[in-house]
């Protein structure tokens, strides 16, 4: 129970800090909206078949690259005044640091994605409402996996030279299966009725999340170890 309370304290601290600075959210939102706007002009809006085909990919590319900006900020607050050392000095399992920060990153990404998704629906004349429940579920699954891998890799790359370049180099290849799963699940709900492979891809995302949320919890002590 103490573990979750300590993770909750770290989550609270990150959310409060973000609420005051708006560093991660502003960069994710602005970037996401600009990308959606560019795609809007790059693709033919009249062709709905083209939208069914490319839409899920465009949406997840936007989510992933906006999320990368957020992940780059994940440990920025801990570098100022070297405060990560104070977290490491507290009598807690360092897995609680991971969990608290991962949940904060997840919330920031979901907030940004909800705005990006709404803009996507407006710009691409996409009827989101009938699919909203399924879309939220898939977005949550895809983002959870991305936030969990992103948080541990942000911690690994934090002390490397050119960490802002290192993070995407590590994160994008590892999250590729997750993105494939998320794009295919989204593609299945873009069609009416939903595609026959929806169940398979959702199960794939669930299994991926179980593995990649649990592993960093177990490995985070070694990541922070000097």
């Amino acid at each position: 129970m103490t573990f979750f309370k300590q993770a909750g304290a770290i989550f609270w601290k990150d959310v409060l800090t973000e609420f005051r600075t708006k560093d991660a959210l502003t960069s994710m939102l602005l970037f996401g909206l600009l990308v959606i706007l560019m795609f809007h002009f790059a693709f033919d809006q009249a062709d709905s078949l083209q939208m069914d085909h490319y839409g899920p990919g465009l949406l997840w590319i936007t989510f992933v690259f906006a999320g990368l900006l957020g992940m780059n900020r994940a440990f920025a607050g801990e570098r100022e005044n070297d405060s990560l050392q104070a977290l490491k000095l507290a009598p807690l399992s360092w897995g609680a640091i991971y969990l608290g920060k991962m949940l904060a990153n997840l919330v920031f990404m979901l907030v940004a994605e909800s705005v990006i998704l709404s803009c996507f629906a407006v710009f691409f004349d996409f009827d989101l409402l009938p699919r909203l429940g399924r879309m939220c579920g898939i977005t949550l699954l895809g983002t959870l996996g991305f936030a969990s891998i992103g948080t541990i890799l942000a911690a690994i790359s934090m002390n490397t030279r050119m960490s802002e370049v290192m993070l995407p180099l590590l994160l994008l290849p590892i999250t590729l299966p997750l993105v494939i799963g998320a794009v295919n699940s989204t593609a299945a709900i873009f069609t009416d009725p939903p595609g026959e492979f929806l169940g398979f891809w959702v199960k794939f995302l669930v299994v991926f999340n179980i593995i990649f949320v649990t592993l960093p919890l177990l490995l985070f002590d070694y990541v922070l170890e000097e």
Binding site: A9, I10, A90
Partner: protein
């Protein structure tokens, strides 16, 4: 006869790649001692404190704090420790109160609010409690850092170059606080390269060089000053 040591290190070795930071360090510190580690930059003083706090895992050896094997049970060991460094380890966008409240939650303190208010009063920041600390001077941040490090009433306080960047008044206050900490039977371990800062209040000194405790001394300020100067001169001669 001496009682059980509050900090004990046996044959502690630490390597960073091919560089040896600590080479077979043995140390035993009794409760209520104020020990200062003196040495040049890169001598291994900070690594020694970080090993005691288990921020750094030694390659070999044994480290015990208040009877707890910190290599096996780092969380239980850290509960007994407070750490003040040159950096404040605080969050600049949180207020002084929120910073302490956050650390109180990490330490699962039941009477958090009372301790926070007492801590803020103790370091003279009760009037600035609701201000974000990015507006604080270096001295104010260091005072809050002491309140953070002592919030959970640790048995051992570790200080790594705590005086650097502090003005005269803030240094005096820090010295007074350290004295009162020791007067309450707590233990202080401080690493510094500044002999004058290291002389005041301490009762035992250890000269650290190339990852080893080269000399341990007790005595008057004048003795230590002479010995340390002699020690540095010898080291300079070794280098030449």
């Amino acid at each position: 006869m001496a009682g059980a040591p509050v900090v004990r290190l046996e044959k502690v070795e630490k390597w960073f790649g091919r560089t040896s930071a600590l080479r077979g360090v043995n140390l035993s510190i009794q409760p209520g001692e104020f020990v200062v580690f003196l040495g040049r930059n890169g001598a291994g003083k900070s690594t020694l404190l970080r090993v005691v706090a288990r921020l750094v895992r030694p390659n070999s050896g044994y480290v015990e704090v208040c009877g707890v094997d910190v290599l096996r049970h780092p969380e239980a060991g850290r509960e007994k420790l407070g750490f003040v460094a040159h950096s404040s380890y605080l969050y600049r966008n949180l207020t002084a109160f929120e910073n302490l409240q956050f650390f109180a939650r990490l330490y699962s303190l039941s009477d958090a609010e009372e301790r926070i208010n007492r801590g803020l009063r103790w370091v003279g920041l009760e009037k600035s409690a609701q201000r974000p600390i990015h507006g604080f001077s270096r001295g104010m941040q260091q005072r809050l850092s002491i309140a953070r490090a002592t919030l959970h009433d640790p048995e051992v306080l570790l200080l790594d170059e705590p005086f650097s960047g502090l003005d005269l008044e803030a240094s005096e206050l820090l010295r007074e606080w350290l004295q009162s900490f020791v007067a309450h039977g707590k233990t202080v371990l401080m690493a510094t390269h500044d002999l004058e800062q290291g002389l005041q209040g301490a009762r035992r000194w250890a000269f650290v060089d190339q990852g080893k405790i080269a000399e341990e001394l007790t005595g008057t300020d004048a003795d230590i000053r002479d010995e340390y100067k002699k020690f540095l001169k010898e080291k300079r001669r070794d280098v030449l």
